[in-house]
């Protein structure tokens, strides 16, 4: 900003643009995970397969009747198939009777 101060006065406009998205409500949370079906969603990177294996192991100890829908059932949530897979989530969750979901890996 090497220009002198004697360079006039400017009313500068906002360079952004209004957001076109409204606040959306989150889904109602569950009272417990016991007996519930949890869907795994994965972008097929950053070792999500190992992460889900560990979560399955740990959650099974706390909630013996927890059930899983594998990421293999859902499809890759990133890359070339992303739009198609994300668009299918509502339908797939209904078909698979999913109660809650986990999505990884944001790394």
């Amino acid at each position: 900003m090497a220009i002198s101060d004697a360079d006039g006065y400017y009313d500068a406009l906002w360079p952004r643009s209004p957001r076109q998205v409204q606040l959306k409500p989150l889904a109602k949370r569950l009272d417990t995970l016991e007996g519930k079906t949890i869907a795994q969603m994965w972008d097929y990177v950053f070792r999500g397969d190992e992460v889900y294996a560990a979560l399955e192991e740990g959650l099974k100890e706390r909630y013996p009747n927890i059930k899983w829908v594998s990421y293999k059932e859902i499809g890759n949530t990133h890359g070339g198939e992303e739009r198609e897979v994300v668009a299918s989530i509502a339908r797939r969750f209904k078909e698979l009777k999913v109660d809650a979901s986990i999505s990884g890996m944001g790394c």
Binding site: D11, R16, D43
Partner: protein, 472 residues
Amino acid sequence: VLRASVAAEEAGVPSSTLVCEGFLGLAESTSVGLGMPNIPVAAVPGHTGVQSKEELRRNILDVTMDNVIRNLVQEPQAATEESEPGARDVICGGTYDEVNRYFYEHELSDGLPIVPPTQERVEQFLKHCNRDSEEIIGILLPDSRAATIWSIAVNGVMAGCRPEYMPVLIALVEAMADPYYGVEHSGNTPGGETLIVLNGPIVKALEFNYTQGVMRDGFIANTSVGRFWRLYLRNVAGFLPHKNDKATFGNTWRVVVAENEDVVKEIGWQPLSADMGFAAGDNTVTISRMTGGNHISSISGSTPEEMLPYLADAVVRQYSWQIMFTVGQGMGTLRPVILLSPLIARAVGKWGWSKKDLQQYLYDHARLPAHQWERILRDWTAKPIWNLEEEWRLGRIPKAFFESDDPNRMVPLVWDPEDFMIVVTGDPARNSAYVFAHNGVLGYPVAKKIQDTKVAPKSRASQKKGANVTAA
């Protein structure tokens, strides 16, 4: 990852998003543009990429699992909406220095001085198009802001563009908003930067450099339009470093590359614009996102057969993990761009070689041993499923990738010869080329005609198995 969770929440299913520690800020910023600023995330300590198997398991069991449970059974805090200025609001009044300080402090500029976007200057830009200034070209992720003609003019002023560049700027934003391009991926790990190629008589009319030093700053048209691209990504799409832009290292913006259509015509080739589905002679912009590139010096020989082995070898050397866009995430969407100096293009063309001949040569000779593919994608970068034989047996990739089970067989870098994009430009007196490394489906090539009405040819991405398929 968050977009999948938003889809789950919209379906009435609670979600928990697994986010490595260093990406929590990104998740916070991105969730605002998705309309769910309070969507819960579960932190994963450190980064999974550098942890032992046992270390990762312990981190998940000791830290992440409790977060996941909390995310799914506890109601998150209610979301609040932040107020923002209106589309045409004056946000700052003052001297040049004061305006620049305000814009920088409010993350509205790139660190270089901007031209203050005043009503008068913006109106000068609007006179150079026949579009309603309120028109929305598209909604840009991650901020979900409207890409309007008005905001194009404002950012064009800031970048130092001339008003007559406005039709070029509009075409660029039309390309940015095209779903095939995938603007939402602009802040990802490799920090790729968009390459803009300009074609048509507009190159000369607006005095774009298309000869020596074509990628160098110093020419107002090439430089300011390149800067505009990055400012628009920042201000309207919403890519801010340390927030939505998570480039590991990043690049600065590239100046516009204009093709030398005089030479293209002289040797009987067609310009890139025609390769992208337009008529030769149309004014067009073509964008694609590149993770890097290299200058290929001193291509020597008196025939194409003598010159091209070096070029084919150089093309292969620009590609490592990016082959995941050939087989993996975004099947068949790798599109290497090669700039040929006019001297090399003429030297190849004089032997009767067409551009298609050159593309076929590169397809046949720019190849990697099969075992190298699997080593890069499976062993080195932890993409756990990539196996060429398995992918071919599942019908997901062409036969060229599994013609035998010999691990030393050579497999192509791309699915089709025409995936190589050739542009003639640069110093007419030098025997060099430049090869860009492409970011595949996360910045797929998109071209738009420069005009005041929208005309978009069918993108080749739609023909690729597994590529983004939403219509433009």
